[in-house]
């Protein structure tokens, strides 16, 4: 399929010329459709940045580094996004701590352990997990998990907080709506994504390498460590980064269970907030500088997810080329 436009028909008949015109028209139309992606991405960048500039001007670099967010203070309010940026990363990392081992395990189960019928059922279940809307997870999180969690959190948190140096991480108060609850809910949402990518790269492990390992007397686990993991490392990292990007951008579930606090410490059971959740919770009542600052949070989130996704695409792309 060459990209050069077809040469214009010179001595062709009228009918032929008509169809050539239709051909060129269709080509142009489809190319324009492809270009909308470029246009929309450009417009997103331009239009949200434009609306956020008043807030950036007002706060300067403090918009990123200050942890004080007080929309009703002073004439125009004070807007520092640091606690939300911190919260976004912290919650996403908690989500990955749960989701990555689970996803790798499920992917290994599907590719190495399960008989074909179970494999199909498991794939279906992961699709089901991916299809559940995030607001439903949020509803479950806020009306079931967040209510039952505090007792459980205290039971595991208070002995662990007695370990020297761990008092902050595991210390109270033990909130049902907290970083940990939000991280757990997000983990459920990114698990299908990471699983499907790791499963795909595991499946590209050459059969010969796996059989060679087994023939040399390796146990199944040694075969996985010696043949499957080294082959899939780049793809797995890419998949994890894609999951991270998704977790950072996930809004609704986090908005319901993260607790809307302003915590900047590594404290699992504290109420915190993430960028997307703060936008969702405050946008309805925001006006003027406040609204501009919330759109500014959107710009920061947009930039962060783009960076993470670029890294993921680069790594997955390289892995794909090496794998095939």
């Amino acid at each position: 399929m060459s990209t050069a436009p077809a040469p214009a028909g010179g001595a062709n008949g009228l009918a032929r010329r008509g169809s050539r015109r239709a051909d060129d028209g269709f080509h142009l139309l489809s190319r324009l459709a492809g270009l909308t992606v470029l246009v929309v991405l450009g417009l997103i960048t331009w239009s949200i940045t434009k609306e956020a500039i008043p807030a950036f001007r007002q706060e300067g670099l403090g918009f990123l580094t200050s942890r004080r967010w007080a929309p009703n203070e002073g004439a125009d309010g004070i807007f520092g996004a640091w606690s939300f940026i911190f919260g976004t990363f912290f919650v996403s990392l908690i989500a990955l701590v749960f989701a990555v081992p689970a996803s790798v395990g499920i992917a290994l189960f599907i590719t190495e352990l399960a008989p074909p019928r179970v494999r199909r059922v498991m794939t279906f279940v992961m699709d089901l997990l991916a299809a559940v809307p995030s607001v439903v997870f949020g509803l479950w999180g806020v009306s079931v998990l967040a209510i039952k969690a505090p007792g459980f959190y205290e039971a595991i948190g208070s002995p662990l907080s007695a370990i020297p140096g761990m008092g902050g991480v595991f210390g109270g108060p033990y909130n049902g709506k907290s970083f940990l609850t939000a991280g757990f809910i997000l983990a459920l949402m990114v698990t299908p994504i990471i699983t499907s990518i790791t499963r795909d790269v595991f499946e590209t492990t050459p059969r010969g390498q796996k059989e060679a390992a087994l023939a040399l007397g390796a146990t199944r686990w040694e075969m996985i460590r010696g043949a499957v993991f080294p082959h899939s490392r780049a793809g797995m990292i890419g998949g994890v980064l894609l999951g991270l990007g998704r977790a950072m951008g996930e809004t609704i579930a986090a908005a319901l269970v993260i607790g809307a606090g302003q915590t900047t410490g590594v404290r699992l059971f504290a109420s915190g907030d993430a960028l997307a959740a703060r936008i969702a919770n405050e946008f309805g009542e925001a006006e003027g500088a406040w609204r501009s600052a919330l759109i500014g949070l959107g710009v920061v989130l947009f930039a962060m997810t783009i960076l993470v996704n670029l890294a993921a695409t680069a790594i997955v792309g390289r892995a794909g080329r090496k794998g095939s």
């Binding site: 239709a22 995030s134 509803l139 010696g226 319901l256 997307a276």
Partner: protein, 303 residues
């Protein structure tokens, strides 16, 4: 590579199965066990969530609930979610009409015309990037580019149409990627056969390539629709709120996902009941769409 590594390590390891040391055997069983734990980790919460949605939802959902207007006060256990169902259908339908044809055409460009050209590479790359843009950013985007400029004085541009635009932005990259993958599966011989008969390229694409890939494209589009129907974040600042049925794209509207979110936020028992009912309705809708998508894909896959 792994094979040679293992070969070197035979100095340390015996190669006969009978002499597998206890430690190695234990480690193997332990790893197998951990894999099962991982599977349970995903299955248990999913089972819990579905159990709650079905058991709490079934107690709420009946014909009256599905067809009544929303209550004037969320605290009250009256009314239903009829307008939200209508809103979800209208808004998602509009988004589908925008995103699916555009996405299919874009994928046609990528696979049939662009191929490996730099421009096609760029578009392909950017649609990956766009697929990763958080859905709430799509909502902010439509708010800043559509709602703000078009709102004048008393009249706000917040409407089902704005929500549909935001959802369409979300769906576009999904449709493009799914369609391109399906077009790639159409064998080149089909195209060549059509060319050999003197068919023009555009006609070949419309009458041969697209029909051959149609089942796959349909299932990809349905998955995108299912994803969009479940989204809340892009609708938060674009559709406003409505209590009555609104079958049009103009004016404020509401949606199932938005109702679940706002009811869950209030925490009143009656509101939570309504949220569970709406959640059951939404899940049934989404699962119906994705199951149809999977059946279509499995039944008619191009081989």
């Amino acid at each position: 590579m792994a094979a040679t590594a293992s070969a070197h390590s035979t100095k340390r390891r015996s190669i006969t199965r009978s002499s597998i040391s206890g430690g190695r055997r234990v480690r193997n069983s332990l790893a197998t066990m951990l894999i099962y734990v991982a599977v349970a980790f995903a299955l248990l919460p999913l089972a819990f969530v579905l159990y709650y949605v079905v058991s709490e939802g079934l107690g709420v959902v009946d014909i009256g609930f599905l067809t009544s207007e929303l209550p004037a006060q969320v605290r009250r256990a009256t009314g239903g979610i009829g307008p939200a169902i209508v809103g979800t259908l209208v808004i998602t339908g509009f988004a589908t009409l925008l995103a699916v044809p555009l996405g299919i055409l874009g994928a046609v460009y990528l696979n049939e015309y662009g191929g490996t050209s730099p421009l096609a590479g760029l578009v392909r790359f950017l649609s990956n990037v766009m697929a990763g843009v958080p859905s709430i950013v799509m909502g902010l985007f439509i708010f800043t580019i559509y709602v703000i400029p078009r709102s004048t004085g008393e009249k706000s541009a917040i409407s089902g149409k704005a929500g549909g635009l935001a959802l369409a932005c979300l769906m576009l990259p999904i449709v493009i990627r799914a369609t391109e993958a399906m077009l790639r599966l159409v064998p080149g011989e089909l195209r060549e056969a059509a060319y050999a008969l003197g068919t023009s390229k555009s006609r070949t694409i419309v009458t041969v390539v697209l029909p051959a890939a149609l089942p796959g494209i349909t299932s990809g589009a349905l998955l995108a629709v299912a994803r969009a129907a479940g989204e809340t974040a892009p609708l938060l600042f674009t559709i406003g709120t409505a209590r009555q049925f609104n079958w049009t794209l103009g004016g404020p509207n509401t949606a199932l996902s938005a109702q679940i979110f706002s009811n869950a936020q209030t925490g009143f028992p009656a509101a939570l009941d309504r949220a569970w009912g709406a959640a059951l309705t939404l899940i049934v809708l989404v699962l119906l769409l994705s199951t149809v998508a999977r059946i279509v894909a499995a039944r008619f896959t191009v081989r």
